[in-house]
Amino acid sequence: MQRIILIILVLFMFTSCNKDNGVSQVQITFKFSHNWDGTAVSNANFNSIIYTNANGEDLSITKLRYLISKITFEKSSGETFILDGYNLVDVTNNTNQSFTPITTIPDGDYSKVSFTFGFDNDDNYNENYIDLNSASWNVPELLGGGYHYMQLEGKFIDNTTTETGYAYHTIRAVDNSGATQVFQDTFFEVDVGAVNITNNATFNIEMNIAEWFKNPNTWDLNVLNQMLMPNSSAQIMMYENGQNVFNLESVNQ
């Protein structure tokens, strides 16, 4: 039996790239790049106060990492393909800025391609991710548990001209003020539009970091700089500002 399985596997390896009904399986890569209102940002630009946010505060970035999950391809027929896995983009260490899930999809026309910023509630609470735990990415049980969506940290010049730290951490919003925790979802779907897939494809996604401070909520770092995880109204504002941070720059295939 084991020998038969091996033979089948080998045959499968040789045949898996063949076209079947004119449809072939393609591999999808998501590449993430970052900018501040159009100026490219990498870890080489970290640690210096060289950016100015919409509210006029000068600031630096010292850490940026965020989680994306559920890359989804949807056909106009409604058929959907969800690529396995999630990816912790780590700009600080210049790792995981490119993500190629193992699942392949058939080529063809897709009416909608999307991914999730953070984890939806299913993914957030129903599994214990040892790689994310090892990266200290978990959220305290006091705040409902699950995982961070983003950690953006740095320094800004406050209104007493002192260099002060900020920790813009996004999680699922939770209001702990009453007798029971009140949650509000803050993960969101990023819709990158319709794409005709003809081959292995790389989606170049850009994040404009300045957007986190801009629209619709002009972010005042003097008021909202640290201890934002337990602050559910701040979390909701981050969620609102997050709607416009991602953009599909191009698809290479």
């Binding site: 305290p140 006091l142 940290e153 730290g165």
Partner: protein, 349 residues
């Protein structure tokens, strides 16, 4: 064993079976690490280099070397003198004295759960990659054992027991420095601490006191201790991130720490977050042993923070010295930290 592994082994066997190899390769007895359940369930597997698998003979040899002053120039100082079991493998000095009685400028570090340091950056400033490489350093460090490897190798080679122990561990009668460090690294990987009161609480075996529980909440509360961003948590039971930060000890730096290693001023004053396990046995604290007690450490985070350009953004209300914990929260935080003491670990080695 999985089917594909069997197949690979068979394929290897087929490829090599006709060789006329005259020398038989020696294999010591494999000894897998005893991985604690909480680690198994919550974090990634430990790092064990493929060219230095754990073996019964290698570990035993490493342990003997670790406790043996033969590695020092005048046979007076062993690793264990600065890394003592009763101190969770550190010592109780601010700075440790080497063979000449000269003091270094850093506090000795406790040794446990080192195989889970995934980035493998060792020392307070992370200047050495991998445990094998680390073990080269103290032997020749003038502030520590002040030896040289030619000497050590020949002392070991002429020793009554070592040649046969190396033979058993590595199948080599010729003792060289790389085998010495491999054996020591194997021993160090077996130093695993995961049996504290808090571990037992997480495993559902006992309850914490209300003070310890509140202390844990202070630790996990971003508006209070906010320690979990750097020092692990119930989900990261190493109780460290093994990453380098400036936790606000100084305005200017006598010791640049990571900055001296990378040459990047943005890294000045950054040191590796230590694990908070076994603090009960590891005083004094910080890279320079400046704090004699846990009260001093907690007061530092609560009201003693000093601003600098590289202080970590997670350090809060720095202009006021910190978030100003209440006396009760401080006492409870300390009680929680002490629940991470693993008596089994210090008694068993």
């Amino acid at each position: 064993m999985k089917t594909w592994q069997v197949h690979i082994i068979i394929i290897f066997f087929v490829c090599f079976s006709c060789d006329n190899e005259s020398v038989e390769r020696y294999f010591a007895t494999p000894s897998s690490l005893d991985i604690p359940k909480l680690f198994e369930d919550n974090i990634l597997a430990p790092v064990i280099p493929i060219d230095n698998p754990q073996t019964v003979e290698g570990i035993a040899l490493g342990k003997k070397l670790f406790f043996d002053p033969i590695l020092s120039i005048d046979n007076t100082l062993a690793c264990v003198d600065c890394h003592a079991p009763e101190n969770a493998f550190t010592d109780s000095d601010k700075f440790s004295d080497g063979v000449d009685g000269i003091f270094g400028n850093r506090n000795s570090m406790p040794l446990f759960n080192l195989a889970w340091n995934y980035d493998e950056k060792f020392f307070w400033d992370g200047n050495t990659f991998s445990l094998e490489h680390q073990a080269f350093v103290p032997v020749t460090d003038p502030f520590e054992m002040k030896s040289n490897w030619t000497d050590v190798e020949s002392k070991l080679q002429q020793h009554a027991e070592y040649p046969s122990l190396f033979e058993k561990a590595f199948g080599a009668s010729n003792i060289d420095s790389s085998l010495v460090t491999k054996a020591i690294a194997q021993f160090e990987r077996t130093l695993i601490s995961a049996n504290s009161k808090f571990d037992k609480f997480l495993l559902g075996e006992l309850n914490l006191s209300p003070e310890e529980l509140n202390g844990f909440n202070v630790f996990m509360d971003e508006a209070k201790g906010d320690c979990f961003h750097c020092h692990g948590s119930d989900k990261n039971p190493l109780w460290t991130d093994n990453i380098f930060h400036n936790n606000g000890l100084d305005e200017t730096f006598a010791d640049l720490g990571l900055g001296a290693v990378t040459g990047d001023p943005a890294d000045n004053g950054k040191f590796k977050s230590p694990s908070l396990r076994n603090l009960e046995f590891t005083a004094p604290y910080m890279h320079d042993g400046r704090f004699a007690s846990l009260d001093d450490v907690i007061n530092h985070y609560s009201q003693g923070l000093k601003n600098s350009s590289t202080i970590d953004p997670l350090m809060k209300k720095v202009d006021q010295g910190g978030v100003g914990l209440t006396d009760k929260d401080k006492a409870d935080l300390k009680a929680f930290l002490l629940s991470l003491s693993d008596y089994d670990f210090i008694n068993s080695k």
